[in-house]
């Protein structure tokens, strides 16, 4: 087909450019601006170059937060993805109970983050919380305000409670799209339950699972509100994840320069991991096609 050249067509993308500029580029640029300057208040700024970046790259505090963040994300992915698939496989396929399950499953997803935090904060308290009190009476040394292990368990269980439904609902949608004929053929071929899962259900869920993993990774990597409400990042720094640390730095200590540099690196890390994950998954797909 012959193409006509019309440079005026560039004007047609102007609205999008303006929108993206205001929603993403300009806010990001202010952060970039802060990240290369230092201030002593009074709205006076001094050029600092890449000093903040260098400092942060060698900061033990940041390394620890990043380490905790990665461990946290890996743990919740390792629990939520298999658990979500397992729940989806065992949900009723149709009828009243299927609808009921769907509604019950989506309830945690509808609760605001800070409310989730408050619920678990109270639920886990040893003096008045049902969970904390019961565990304490049963003889478990459970106190999330003093024991880092208990704090971690609380934060992880809370995240699993809050977000496993998302994985389950996505996996369920994937399962629903498999035509009956596949299951019938598998019965004819005398495939075991495991083989049905491995060769029919899992391949058909691959697309939605990729989205689920990506969403859960990004969200968990940026988690702030719920652990902040429950533990405030403690005891000590044991549940201080990247976002919590960032807010402490930016608003608690008012170190705008380092905090801005921190934000940019944080952003790049998420972008990089998501990109690598996405590329690997889509390439796996392509390789199968040949």
């Amino acid at each position: 087909m012959e193409k006509t050249v019309n440079q005026k067509a560039w004007f047609l993308i102007l609205p999008v450019l303006i929108l993206v500029a205001f929603s993403a580029v300009i806010p990001l640029m202010t952060v970039v601006n802060y990240s290369v300057q230092d201030t002593f208040g009074n709205n006076q700024f001094f050029w600092a170059g890449l000093e903040w970046f260098e400092e942060l790259l060698h900061s033990e505090r940041l390394h620890d937060a990043l380490g905790r963040q990665i461990i946290f994300s890996l743990i919740i992915l390792a629990i939520e993805v298999p658990l979500g698939i397992f729940i989806a496989l065992n949900m009723p396929k149709k009828g009243f109970w299927a609808s009921l399950c769907l509604v019950l499953m989506s309830l945690p997803l509808l609760i605001p983050w800070n409310v989730v935090g408050t619920i678990w904060q109270i639920f886990g308290r040893v003096d008045i919380g049902l969970l904390g009190y019961t565990l304490d009476k049963l003889g478990f040394a459970y106190n999330y305000t003093q024991d880092s292990f208990a704090a971690w368990v609380t934060v992880i269980v809370m995240d699993v409670w809050h977000w496993t439904s998302l994985v389950a609902l996505l996996a369920y949608a994937g399962l629903q799209s498999i035509p009956d004929a596949y299951y019938q053929a598998a019965k004819i071929d005398q495939a075991s339950r495991w083989k049905v899962f491995r060769f029919i259900e899992l391949p058909k869920m691959q697309g939605v699972l990729m989205i689920a993993i990506l969403l859960r990774f990004m969200d968990s990597f940026m988690i702030y509100t719920e652990p902040f409400v429950v533990t405030g990042g403690g005891p000590g720094n044991s549940t201080t994840f990247l976002s919590i640390d960032l807010v402490k730095m930016a608003l608690g200590q008012f170190d705008l320069g380092p905090a801005a540099a921190f934000s940019i690196m944080y952003y790049l890390v998420i972008l990089l991991i998501s990109y690598v994950f996405y590329t690997v998954m889509t390439n796996l797909d392509k390789r199968d096609g040949v």
Binding site: A181, Q184, A185, K187, I188, D189, F199, K204, D288, G289
Partner: protein
């Protein structure tokens, strides 16, 4: 390989069927002889697939029993019945290679590795896919995927029966002939009991030894292609088989004669008193155009030349009649009569054929 017996079998998709209309499959007694090839023919929604799924155990019938070689298998799950079934739309295991797809049913039954390799090679050749055996099944065309499904159906040699549920719907016409021929060859070589569901009469008539015609949840006739053509037991069989289908004309039957809207014709056989709605049925192949006073007076409305012969569409007092004329025959303006060959006339009462008393 097995003889399959159906006893008082019926199925309804409703939990509490009350009337006969609630049944997708009406009560049925039938025996599929070991080693024969059957075609199950009927329009969409007549219960063909339901019957097939009951035989393979994918569906539990509401009533009745299924026996393989006189052993009751009604409560046996699909896996234990050892049946192969191919569906209308291709089912392949995307992440496996074509070879693994074909080997899957054999491996699941714990077959010997060297036997699997040899058998898969053989099936690969049969479906014309030896070159693609090591490709992933994902990304193949619908055609190729359906060939894999067929191959998976044929790979086991010891199955009790092979069931096909309109398997060639998505296949190219030229490949259809080839695959059908190979299915017949397979039947010839191994003598499996085969049941082939289709709504395509050509497919049914060329594939099977016996054709079972279903209509509205029940079997209306079972017979050889010739029987279905010459003596349809039900008006549906007359309509459905043949192109164009049988002509049916409302008539009053009295002894050897029929009175069709005022004109008497000879039936070639005597009939007793018949109740209900009576019709005569004549295939277009048993009619010819005439002149003068013979047969029935008609108006020719249209002539279609289909190459081998001409189909004359005519009208007799509001009832349509199709006549087949030879390709070379001139159709003159004076040809305003149709003559029925008495040997090709059948009499129907309430849609079912009534036998004549002696020719």
């Amino acid at each position: 390989m097995a003889k399959i017996t159906l006893e008082n079998l019926a199925h309804s998709y409703l939990p509490n069927p009350s009337s006969e209309d609630d049944y997708a499959l009406k009560e049925l007694n039938h025996e599929w002889v070991d080693g024969e090839a059957y075609a199950l023919l009927g329009s969409s929604g007549c219960g063909k697939s339901t019957l097939l799924n009951i035989i393979s155990g994918l569906l539990q019938p509401s009533q009745g029993r299924i026996l393989f070689n006189d052993v009751d298998v009604t409560d046996q799950p699909t896996a234990e019945r050892n049946i192969a079934q191919v569906f209308q739309f291709p089912v392949v295991y995307d992440t496996m290679t074509v070879r693994d797809n074909l080997a899957f049913p054999l491996r699941n039954r714990g077959a010997d590795a060297s036997y699997v390799a040899q058998r898969v090679q053989q099936i690969g050749e049969m479906i014309g896919m030896e070159a693609e055996l090591d490709r992933k099944a994902r990304g193949l065309t619908a055609d190729a995927k359906q060939k894999i499904s067929l191959g998976r159906g044929m790979v086991r040699e010891d199955v009790n029966a092979l069931l096909f549920d309109e398997p060639l719907t998505v296949i190219d016409p030229h490949m259809k002939w080839e695959l059908r021929t190979q299915l017949k060859q397979l039947h010839h070589d191994f003598g499996h009991t085969m049941i082939y569901v289709t709504h395509d009469q050509t497919e049914a008539l060329t594939f099977a030894d016996k054709v079972v015609v279903m209509y509205d949840g029940g079997v209306v006739q079972m017979g050889t292609p010739q029987e279905l053509f010459e003596t349809p037991e039900h008006t549906f069989v007359g309509y459905f088989i043949g192109s164009p289908g049988m002509n049916f004309l409302d008539a009053e039957i009295a002894g050897r004669h029929a009175n069709i809207a005022g004109t008497q014709i000879d039936l070639g056989a005597g009939y007793g008193a018949i109740d209900g709605k009576t019709q005569v049925g004549v295939r277009p192949e048993f009619t010819r155009l005439g002149t003068g006073n013979e047969g029935l007076p008609i108006n020719i409305t249209r002539i279609e030349d289909v190459g081998r012969h001409k189909i004359v569409r005519a009208d007799y007092k509001g009832q349509e009649i199709n006549i087949i004329a030879d390709e070379g025959q001139e159709i003159g303006a004076d040809m305003n009569r149709v003559v029925f060959d008495p040997a090709g006339i059948n009499v129907y009462a309430n849609d079912w054929r009534v036998k004549g008393e002696a020719a």
